[in-house]
């Protein structure tokens, strides 16, 4: 039984790492891999409107005759990149705020945590929705809107970890020895918080991708003719019954990438934190 668990773990690891690698490769090599790269950047081929999948067009063509396969490949350069950017920036902002709150405690902690409470009380998709209408539609606006909604999660996580570490004797010792705040934080507090953060971040890339795609689907993300997956599904909405290939492939791409991220999160968690009871990743 133990053997089987280990084997299952290894399969998941291979799947997650292989999948993540493949996604990165596709994003990097999209211009090389895509059979019709110009279709992703604003070409049109009115002689090839709405052709079903074939040898020439693996995923068919869309309402402007563009190759869906090429556009889906190029899509790996938009949604996932936005997601990684959002998580990275949120991680930095959230960590700083969380560490400050957890380390210093007192009224600073109270103030910062009530602030995060306010942000957390508005579901992320809704807040991002409101923000995305304010900001210029596009990948950058999307990234900003999502970052504003995402940092509180990390702030709270880091604050908790920090607070728990700060009480331990060796940190007291550090303080007693007169080590500076910054040094204590960077050397002793942060490393302790990094594992749960890493786990959360890898899962969250998938979560952010889903929310970002949702916003795109509502028309608040990148604008046409950007081959963003969420946008492609939205554009295919009225074609779904008659031309299934327009929306099916981009949607599947979102699912695939999100799935790989979640799996990666699981794998990382199993490695570093086997006793963890999963907390839901914020998706809305």
């Amino acid at each position: 039984m133990r053997a089987r668990g280990a084997r299952g773990g290894r399969t998941a690891l291979v799947l997650a790492l292989g999948g993540a690698g493949a996604i990165v490769l596709v994003a990097l090599l999209a211009p090389v891999l895509a059979p019709y790269p110009e279709d992703a950047t604003g070409a049109a081929e009115t002689a090839q409107l709405l052709r079903p999948p074939s040898a020439a067009h693996w995923f068919g063509t869309d309402e402007l005759g563009r190759d869906v396969f090429s556009r889906v490949l190029y899509g790996a350069r938009i949604g996932p990149v936005v997601a990684v950017a959002v998580v990275t920036v949120s991680l930095v902002v959230g960590t700083v705020i969380g560490v400050v709150a957890g380390y210093f405690g007192g009224w600073i902690d109270e103030l910062l945590m009530r602030l995060t409470d306010v942000f957390l009380a508005v579901p992320a998709l809704l807040l991002a929705l409101a923000l995305a209408t304010v900001l210029a539609p596009g990948p950058v606006g999307l990234t900003v809107a999502l970052t504003v909604t995402w940092w509180p999660w990390y702030a709270r996580l880091v604050r908790g970890e920090t607070a728990s570490v700060v009480g331990r004797p060796y940190i007291e010792a550090c303080r007693a020895l007169g080590l500076g705040h910054r040094r204590t934080l960077v050397r002793h507090v942060l490393p302790n918080a990094s594992t749960p953060l890493l786990v959360q971040a890898s899962t969250d890339v998938g979560g952010v991708l889903l929310v970002a795609s949702g916003l795109s689907f509502l028309g608040l993300g990148p604008q046409p003719p950007t081959p963003d997956w969420g946008l492609m599904v939205e554009q295919s909405q009225n074609y779904f019954t008659t031309h299934w290939w327009l929306g099916t492939f981009p949607g599947a791409a979102i699912m695939l990438v999100a799935g790989v991220c979640f799996l990666l999160g699981d794998v990382v968690r199993d490695r570093f934190d086997p006793r963890h009871v999963p907390r839901p990743t914020q998706r809305a």
Binding site: R114, P123, A130, L210
Partner: protein, 349 residues
């Protein structure tokens, strides 16, 4: 014994009071936050109000009528006092009080979310239980990969797939909307609770109930997908976590069949995390319905919000945000209190 009982009651009350005050504070923060965001929007509410082809004169008239010519600070203050009195402003799109609009839409969304959560719980908990029971086996692997997939599937895409396959191709369920006009015309539902489906059931209006259920099923299934996945994972993990506990060993030694050991004793430990999760999922699902309603043309808050966002109907956008945040806070508060009631150790922490 007396000491123990009073000792149990007091922390409970103090705990409830503290949680309520905190929730109220957060709610106030949400109002300010949403209003600030909405105020940044460079919009022309008077233009929306007066219609796409209104003249400049007409727009100026409307601007004065809506008080939009006053300083922004004054507008915020009057908005905040209004909200506290139940006046959430007028929607520039529908020309009606925002609160009235929201309350018209809320029952449908609530109905959808609740149905989704019920399905999510009904599927997720047993799935997690089975996975834990046959831990490491085929069932477990199926549940785990199923949960992974249904968490990773984009809601709107799942909605489109189900709509196309089940409603459009197979014609098993209605493609969209919340009821069939003809059915409702012949069998109108008497309002009791405000939730149409529940009302139809309560008043014994079988025809209407069937029709409402027809329309609710697909969207609710989509809404349920994520809750089911997370709950399954959580229940599985909690049970596996509990299985090694001595008290589980103990009930096994007392002769309980494994079904009861896991389903009653181990699962009971998962109640608290499940509850906590349920509140979180509730908030998530509330907003997730925005995407689901967009696909299924379900006339709830989500579609109202989408319309409002599209036309930058500021009072409506702020109103939706506020309402959802309040619902979410209320759910969290309720769960916190329920948790404390279920596990007295919580209130003591």
């Amino acid at each position: 014994m007396k000491r123990a009982r009073s000792g149990r009651g007091r922390p409970m009350i103090r705990y409830a009071a503290r949680r309520s005050v905190l929730s109220a504070l957060v709610a106030f923060g949400v109002v300010v936050l949403t209003y600030l965001i909405a105020r940044v929007v460079p919009s022309d509410p008077a233009g929306v109000w007066a219609g796409p082809r209104a003249s400049a004169v007409e727009r100026a008239r409307v601007r004065a009528e809506l008080g939009l010519d006053r300083p922004v600070a004054e507008q915020i203050v009057s908005y905040l006092t209004g909200v506290s009195r139940g006046d959430w402003g007028l929607s520039v799109l529908t020309h009606r009080p925002v609160l009235t609009d929201l309350l018209t839409r809320l029952p449908n969304t609530l109905q959808l979310v609740l149905a989704g959560m019920v399905i999510g719980l009904a599927v997720g908990i047993p799935a997690g239980l089975f996975a834990a029971r046959w831990h490491g086996g085929t069932v477990d692997r199926l549940v785990r990969s199923g949960a992974l997939l249904s968490a990773a599937i984009p809601t709107f895409w799942l909605a489109l797939l189900l709509q196309t396959l089940i409603a459009s191709r197979l014609d098993l369920l209605p493609i969209a909307g919340s009821y069939d006009r003809a059915v409702m015309g012949a069998h109108p539902v008497t309002t009791v609770t405000g939730l149409p489906l529940l009302d139809a059931v309560l008043t014994g209006n079988g025809v209407a109930a069937t029709d409402l259920l027809d329309h609710l099923l697909l969207p609710a299934l989509v809404v349920a997908s994520y809750p089911a996945a997370v709950l399954a994972r959580m229940v599985r993990a909690s049970i596996l976590d509990a299985v090694g506990e001595p008290h589980i060993q103990m009930v096994r030694a007392l002769g309980f069949p494994e079904r009861v050991v896991l389903g009653r004793f181990a699962l009971r430990l998962a109640w608290n995390p499940v509850l906590q999760l349920t509140a979180l999922i509730f908030g998530y699902s509330l907003v997730n319905t925005f995407l689901v309603e967009a696909v299924f043309d379900y006339p709830g808050l989500g579609r109202y919000a989408a319309d409002a966002v599209q036309s930058l109907d500021v009072p409506a956008v702020v109103g939706v945000t506020l309402l959802v945040a309040l619902l979410y806070l209320a759910a969290n508060l309720a769960v916190d209190l329920a948790q404390a009631a279920l596990d007295p150790r919580v209130a003591l922490r």
